[in-house]
């Protein structure tokens, strides 16, 4: 199945399960979990179910487009279900079937993998799912987000779209994956991988990045004080992204790293507090 059909198939499948199809959030982020629909969506009691493609940027993972398995930017397909339905594992397996990956014909292994994000102050319990030995999905029951103990519990399913496409198309090189029936993944992204690797590893201006981090941190705090948690959260995401570039650029020492992570976590917490304040009935606050 080609790359774009995989996306459409997953969207169709989850649409039938009642999911709202949300569009990718238009800011750089390291993983789908940063999407406001996930971050804020898991916080309050209000039920939610939605799904979306989320381009995810990991500057340090870029390899100039030379490594058949490594990308600085890849695509996750994320499903958020709150409260987590009792048949959620089966729903997931049926989605694989929809992708022509019949679990009866493959070995599906659920390997313990408890996700956590120190930057978001978040953690969960779950698995990575292996299909014939290849990891294709991260499956998590969120337990804590931005320091809040969650109730009800959200299930988050994160498909690694490139991995699934490689598996489905039996390709050893991600750039050989067919995006549609005539265009390859490589044609679509290789140049971008090359240019962004140069930027992230060599050209990014360290002083500027540090300034962006400081400015966005200030802005985030200011906006939170005004109850404008949505733009505030954008600023927090930007801090996180600039931090990732600084790290790829080799400009972060061990103690630096801990400090900035702590900083981002406290920003995420500020935004979450404002969101919870605004979205919880008064008598429950």
């Amino acid at each position: 199945m080609n790359f774009q059909d995989i996306i459409h198939t997953l969207e169709n499948y989850w649409k039938k399960q009642g999911c709202l199809i949300v569009q990718p959030y238009d800011l750089e982020k390291g993983a789908g979990t940063f999407n406001p629909a996930t971050f804020f969506g898991s916080l309050t009691e209000k039920p939610t179910s939605c799904c979306y493609v989320e381009p995810s940027r990991r500057p340090a993972d870029g390899r100039y487009g030379d490594n058949p398995n490594r990308l600085g930017k890849f695509h996750q397909f994320q499903v958020i279900l709150k409260p987590a339905p009792a048949n959620v594992q089966k729903l997931y397996l049926d989605s694989l079937k929809a992708l022509d990956l019949d679990p009866k014909k493959h070995d599906v292994r659920w390997i313990e993998d408890d996700w956590q994000s120190p930057t978001l102050g978040a953690s969960g319990v779950g698995w990575e799912v292996w299909l014939d030995g290849m990891e294709i999905t991260q499956f998590t029951y969120f337990q804590i987000m931005a320091g809040y103990t969650l109730k009800p519990i959200t299930a988050e399913i994160t498909y690694g779209l490139e991995r699934i496409a490689m598996f489905s198309q039996k390709k050893d090189n991600v750039f050989d994956v067919m995006w549609n029936d005539t265009t390859t993944y490589g044609e679509m992204v290789k140049e971008s991988e090359r240019q962004f690797s140069h930027y992230h590893f060599e050209q990014a201006d360290i002083e500027n990045l540090r300034r962006y981090v400081a400015e966005n941190e200030e802005e985030c705090k200011k906006l939170c004080k005004l109850g404008l948690y949505l733009p505030a959260y954008d600023c927090a995401m930007k801090v996180s992204h600039y931090f990732n570039i600084l790290e790829a650029r080799g400009a972060i020492s061990v103690s630096d790293r801990t400090n900035i992570i702590t900083k981002i976590r406290s920003l995420a917490k500020l935004c979450a507090q404002e969101y919870v304040k605004a979205n919880t009935p008064e008598e429950k606050l």
């Binding site: 493959h106 599906v108 292994r109 659920w110 290849m134």
Partner: protein
């Protein structure tokens, strides 16, 4: 009638590492809870898979045992009123306990006579107790990590999705975490079949085994099936499976029905070091390596999948791809490391922090090098050079790509790279042995080179952690310092390192940067405790171990000899008599605050007893000078020699007063006693510590 009861807690995929612990708890907790309810049974068995924790209670009684109960009531005076009728209080109390007033008895208590109701509490019927019992069993399970997933917020390892609860052929009805108990069990998730009817407890295992996609719920059955399949598939290839016990246990913990697939591995991967391939197989892929009868790796793999598939070739293909990708990574890392070379790796250690305030790994390496040379001071030149070379590179592989990916290969990879770079054989082997021993009783470095550098590394890690205040307490030992201390002591003994323990420690501390709030003063005792453990294993008694502790100028091997000699000499009456007297010396000296007595002045002796004592001591000292102190029998002689002090000491204490008003004489006598104590604690053993029968 006794019937079997069964509780199957069916969950989403439990982490493989939880399974054995959970089943053990399930058994113990079930037994305890049945006991609380006075329920008799013949056996409690547990079994299960990553999706089902099952407990079976054999021949569970239909009814809890009756209990004799005595309930204290009002004072005995309240039994009857003046007219001789039972009082309201007495009747009420009796009724409350299901008795008539005339059945009450009077019991004398320390507070006077009281009314008692002696009654039998009828045991309840098991079928009425079981719902609560099953619920309690589920709630009693604790996992290494728990989660919540539904409204009642039950803590469990993974969500519970079904419960089979039976007593005989009857459903035990209850509900927990939103799940109602049933008489059906869940089949394998991937095969999406309908729930399986379980009519009675005895059917659980066979009903699942007989499915089109069989589930082997019994652990032992699953294990034997796996081993048999591994052996049979490997023998078809003409070889054997590397049946790693841990991997087998892990594999049966993530499969309900292990099915073995074999496939080929490109022969080019065999140029990788064996341990590296084995690690990729076991730790990353959970596959079993294939070996010949000499243990040499063969270009095949054995993978295990869960259940039978109509699509085995495609699954095999998938596994092979993943294996190839992982091994290709390993080749890339390995070749990269060889290109980098140990020199560059050693340089990179400067960027790896060790402990805050105690430098980076390059600085640690430098210290280990100096400490190794200190320990190796008396070795021949060539050996010393080899040791120095091993020390220089002992940590280098921490900066290698392979060890970054597979931390358990530290040391081993360094040894491999040193071999490739044509290091002297001793140095290369020594680097490979650097982290040995890996546990309290596992193999020690074989070469002297490996032993010395390993010892130096451990002494540096121990002193550095103590300097940073990271001292183990209770069960907290995150840096495995107890293991390292035990390793260091074992190496010292094994290679007869001729430097006393405290000198080794002092040297290690001296090499460290100065740091505030250091706790290195505690290190000697910490290491001594490990040494004491080994001595106790040799049947040396604790008092003997205390007695030899002050002999700081002795090597550990000498101390072992002294301890054994002293352990045996404890039967000698003369020595024990002397030991008894030394307790008095020790007590007298303990009370003296200023321990500056000056030299012993013979002209100040006024009593004959002190002269005799002094002369005997002089004799002993003189004889000790030429004394060979190598074997147990040498120390036996020393003890005999010291025993000659027994008589003079006894006379001394009988006739001589130490605390006399003349300060000079008093100090002179104290000096004499101090000389004896000092001889003991420097040369012989602190006999005052001995327990005398």
């Amino acid at each position: 009638m006794n019937k079997t009861a069964l509780l199957a807690i069916e969950t989403e995929h439990l982490p493989a590492r939880f399974l054995f612990g959970a089943l053990e708890q399930l058994k113990n907790n079930t037994e305890n809870i049945l006991k609380e309810h006075n329920l008799e049974y013949s056996a409690v068995n547990t079994f299960g898979t990553y999706r089902r924790l099952v407990v079976e209670i054999k021949e569970l009684t239909a009814k809890a045992a009756d209990i004799q109960k005595e309930v204290k009531g009002p004072p005995a005076a309240l039994l009857k009123d003046k007219e001789g009728n039972y009082t309201k209080q007495a009747e009420g109390f009796a009724q409350k306990n299901g008795l008539k007033a005339q059945d009450l008895v009077i019991v004398e208590t320390p507070k006077g006579p009281f009314l008692y109701a002696k009654c039998v509490v009828k045991g309840q019927e098991t079928k009425n107790l079981l719902p609560q019992i099953f619920e309690n069993i589920i709630r009693s399970l604790v996992f290494p990590k728990n989660m919540v997933w539904e409204d009642s917020c039950l803590h469990f390892a993974r969500p519970i999705r079904n419960i089979v609860a039976l007593y005989g052929d009857k459903l035990v009805k209850f509900e927990i975490a939103g799940v109602k108990s049933t008489k059906t069990s869940l089949p394998m998730l991937s095969f999406g079949a309908k729930p399986v009817k379980i009519d009675k407890p005895e059917d659980y295992i066979p009903a699942l085994r007989n499915l089109e996609q069989p589930i082997l719920a019994d652990i032992e059955e699953r294990k034997q099936t796996l081993i048999k399949a591994l052996n049979s598939v490997a023998s078809k290839l003409g070889y054997q499976a590397d049946l790693d016990e841990d991997l087998i246990n892990e594999t049966i913990s993530f499969t309900e029905h292990p099915v073995v697939l074999s496939g080929d591995m490109d022969i080019k991967f065999l140029k990788l070091p064996k341990e590296l391939i084995t690690n990729v197989f076991k730790k990353q892929l959970r596959m079993f390596p294939v070996v010949d009868n000499k243990g040499n790796l063969q270009p095949h793999f054995l993978a295990v999948r869960d259940g039978i598939s109509v699509n085995q070739d495609e699954v095999r293909h998938g596994f092979k791809n993943v294996m190839t990708a992982r091994l290709t990574d390993a080749v890339f890392f390995f070749e990269n490391d060889i290109k980098t070379g140990l020199d560059k790796m050693a340089e990179k250690l400067a960027t790896i922090n060790f402990i805050d305030g105690l430098g980076n790994m390059a600085q640690k390496t430098k210290r280990v090098e100096e400490l190794s040379l200190f320990i190796a001071a008396n070795q021949p030149k060539e050996a010393k050079e080899n040791i120095q070379k091993a020390a220089k590179y002992c940590y280098a592989d921490l900066a290698s790509s392979v060890v970054y990916e597979f931390s358990e290969l530290q040391g081993y990879m360094g040894g491999v790279y040193a071999g490739k770079e044509n290091f002297p054989k001793d140095s290369a082997v020594g680097i490979g042995e650097f982290y040995l021993p890996l546990s309290a009783s596992s193999a020690l470095p074989k070469t002297l080179c490996g032993a010395i550098v390993s010892l130096a590394g451990k002494l540096d890690s121990l002193s550095a952690n103590f300097a940073a205040g990271q001292v183990p307490s209770g069960s907290q030992d995150p840096f495995a310092l107890r293991r390292q201390a035990m390793g260091a002591v074992r190496i010292i003994l094994d290679k007869n390192i001729a430097i006393p323990l405290n000198e080794l420690i002092d040297k290690a501390i001296e090499l460290l940067p100065k740091i505030e709030n250091s706790r290195t003063a505690e290190l000697f005792d910490f290491m001594w405790q490990r040494f004491a453990l080994l001595l106790e294993q040799e049947q040396i008694t604790p008092d003997v171990i205390e007695a030899i502790k002050p002999l700081k100028n002795k090597t550990l091997n000498q101390l072992v000899i002294i301890a054994k000699a002293l352990n045996n000499a404890k039967n000698s009456q003369a020595l024990m008599q002397a030991a008894q007297a030394t307790k008095r010396i020790s007590n007298i000296l303990k009370k003296v605050e200023e321990k500056t007595f000056g030299d012993i002045k013979e002209n100040l002796f006024s009593c004959n007893q002190e002269k005799v004592l002094y002369n005997t001591l002089k004799d002993i000292n003189a004889q000790m000078i030429g004394q060979k102190l190598e074997q147990e029998k040498d120390y036996k002689e020393v003890f005999n020699l010291f025993s000659t002090l027994a008589g003079p000491l006894e006379d001394f204490f009988k006739e001589v007063m130490v605390n006399v008003p003349q300060i000079e004489i008093k100090n002179n006598r104290l000096a004499l006693l101090d000389a004896i104590q000092s001889l003991l604690s420097k040369q012989i053993a602190d006999l005052s510590k001995l327990q005398i029968k």
